[in-house]
Amino acid sequence: MTDDQQLRVSKITEGTVIDHVTGGQALNVLAILGIDGSGGEEVSIGMNVPSDRLGRKDVVKVEGRELSQDEVDVLSLIAPAATINIVRDYDVVEKHRVERPGEVVGVLRCPNRNCITTKDEPVDSRFAVLEEGVRCAYCDTIIRESIAEHIHVD
C-alpha cells in the first residue's frame, strides 16, 4: 500500500494530516500541538505504519484544526521529513513539507537548570536551530539528542 492510498482510506473532513512523521514520534507531535484528549479533539494516530519513503512512519490526523507556523517549526525538529496536509471539505487543499526554521521560541525548555530562561522571568526560551540539534540563545546549551523531551507546553 502506498502512502497516497493510506491517506485516501481514512480521510478527515476539516483539519490537518501530519504525515511522514518519524516512527514513534506521534505522541510528541500531539504534545507540541498541546493535545492530550482533555479538549475533546478528534484525533487519529497511526504509529510505525509501513512507508515507502521512511520504512516506518507515524501519521497524525487532527479534525478541525490547522497548524500555526510556530507549531510546524517545532514539528520540523522531531520530524524533519513530515508533510503537512491541510484538509477542507474532505480535500487536501494544501500540502507542504516542514522546513527547519532559524530559531524556535517559547516551545522548548532549556535543560540547563542554571539558565535564566528556566526561572520566573518574563522571557521566552529561544533556541537557534543548528544543523544537528538546537542551541539556547541565552546560555548556549546545545541539545542534540531527544529534543522532544524538552518540549514545554503550558
Binding site: 540547563n112 542554571n114 539558565c115 535564566i116 530562561t117 526561572k119 520566573d120 522571568e121 518574563p122 522571557v123 543548528l130 542551541r135 539556547c136 540563545a137 541565552y138 546560555c139 548556549d140 546549551t141 546545545i142 542534540r144
Partner: protein, 304 residues
C-alpha cells in the same frame, strides 16, 4: 535593542579588542589624564553574587574617569530578597545610571537583562557562562607579556564551569593562537564552547595531562578546580592534585612562559611560583583598571 551591550566575548572582533587594548595602554601610560572626562556620569552596579577584583576595578575605573557609582548593595539587603524579578530590577536601576555592570549566578542573565534596558549593560560574569571584561584584561596581559603572534596558550583547570575560560577561548579565535585545554575528563569544555571553536576554525586540542604540552606553551592560564563541582570528595581529591603547579613543575617550561590566573587562587598555583619570572597574575589583576577605564570610556562616549 541597542548594540553596545558587552555580553559575550563571542561578539568581540579582533578590531573591537585591539581598540580597547590600545586605549587601555594609553590610559595606563597617563592614568590622570582622564580625571574629569565623565564627571557627573553614574555607573549602576548590580552584583547578585560576590566579587572582589571585578567590582573594585569597575568602581576604581569609573572614579578615575571622574564619574561615580550607584550600588545595589548585597542581594540580601535588596528587593531581590522580596522576590523581585531580574527584569524588574534592571528596569528600575537603568533609570538611575548611564550604564550598568551586572554579575549574576545564572547563565544567560546578562543577555536577558540587556533586552530590558536602554542603557549599555556590561556582563561582569553570568554563572558558568561568560566574563568578557575579564577576557579583555587577560588579552591585555597576554599582549603585554607574549604578544599575539604565533601564540601557544594552555588553559588548565575547571574548563566546564569556568566562565573566564569560555570567554578567553572565544576571544583567542580572533588571533593566531593554538589553544590547549588541560582538565580532568569530567571538567572538559562544554559542548557549546567546543562547537563555537570548531565553527571558528580554531586550532585546539584537549588533554588530561599538562606534561603533554607544557614545553610548547607561551602562556599557561590556570583556573581553580572547584571541589563543590564533584559528586564526592574522593573524586575531587583524585584529580585536584594533578592540576596544581609549583616552581618545580615549571622547570621544563619555556623560560619566557607567562603564568596567568583570574584569581582568587586557592592552592592550584604554589606560592613559590610568585617569585619566578613566569608569574603574571597580580599584574593581570592590576590591568583590570585601565582596561575597564577604556571600555567604560568607549561606552559612555557612545551613550551621550
Amino acid at each position: 535593542m541597542r548594540d553596545d551591550h558587552i555580553i559575550s566575548a563571542k561578539h568581540l572582533s579582533r578590531a573591537d579588542i585591539e581598540s580597547v587594548l590600545d586605549r587601555a595602554a594609553e590610559i595606563a601610560a597617563d592614568p590622570g589624564a582622564l580625571a574629569d572626562r565623565h564627571d557627573g556620569k553614574l555607573l549602576g552596579m548590580l552584583f547578585f553574587e560576590p566579587s572582589t577584583r571585578t567590582k573594585m576595578s569597575f568602581v576604581t575605573a569609573m572614579r578615575r574617569l571622574g564619574g561615580d557609582i550607584v550600588d545595589m548593595g548585597p542581594v540580601d539587603q535588596s528587593s531581590v530578597k522580596k522576590g523581585e524579578s531580574l527584569a524588574d530590577t534592571v528596569r528600575v536601576v537603568e533609570g538611575y545610571a548611564d550604564a550598568l555592570v551586572m554579575r549574576h549566578p545564572l547563565e544567560g542573565s546578562a543577555k536577558m537583562a540587556s533586552e530590558f534596558v536602554d542603557v549599555p549593560l556590561i556582563n561582569a560574569g553570568d554563572g558558568a557562562g561568560q566574563h568578557p571584561t575579564q577576557t579583555l584584561l587577560d588579552l591585555y596581559t597576554i599582549r603585554e607579556s607574549a604578544g599575539f603572534d604565533d601564540l601557544t596558550v594552555g588553559i588548565m583547570g575547571d574548563l566546564k564551569y569556568g566562565r573566564t575560560v569560555h570567554s578567553l577561548a572565544h576571544a583567542l579565535t580572533n588571533f593566531d593562537a593554538q589553544q590547549h585545554f588541560v582538565s580532568p575528563e569530567s571538567l572538559k569544555l562544554p559542548r557549546g564552547v567546543r562547537y563555537d571553536l570548531h565553527e571558528a576554525g580554531a586550532s585546539m586540542r584537549e588533554h588530561t595531562d599538562l606534561e603533554e604540552v607544557l614545553e610548547t606553551l607561551d602562556v599557561l592560564y590556570v583556573t581553580r578546580i572547584q571541589a563543590e563541582r564533584f559528586p564526592d570528595e574522593d573524586e575531587y581529591r583524585k584529580v585536584a592534585g594533578e592540576y596544581q603547579i609549583d616552581a618545580e613543575t615549571l622547570a621544563d617550561a619555556k623560560d619566557d612562559l607567562v603564568v596567568m590566573h583570574p584569581l582568587p587562587r586557592v592552592d592550584e598555583i604554589a606560592a613559590d611560583v610568585d617569585e619566578t619570572d613566569h608569574a603574571r597574575y597580580f599584574q593581570q589583576a592590576h590591568n583590570g583598571v585601565p582596561v575597564r577605564m577604556a571600555l567604560l570610556d568607549q561606552i559612555l562616549e557612545g551613550s551621550q
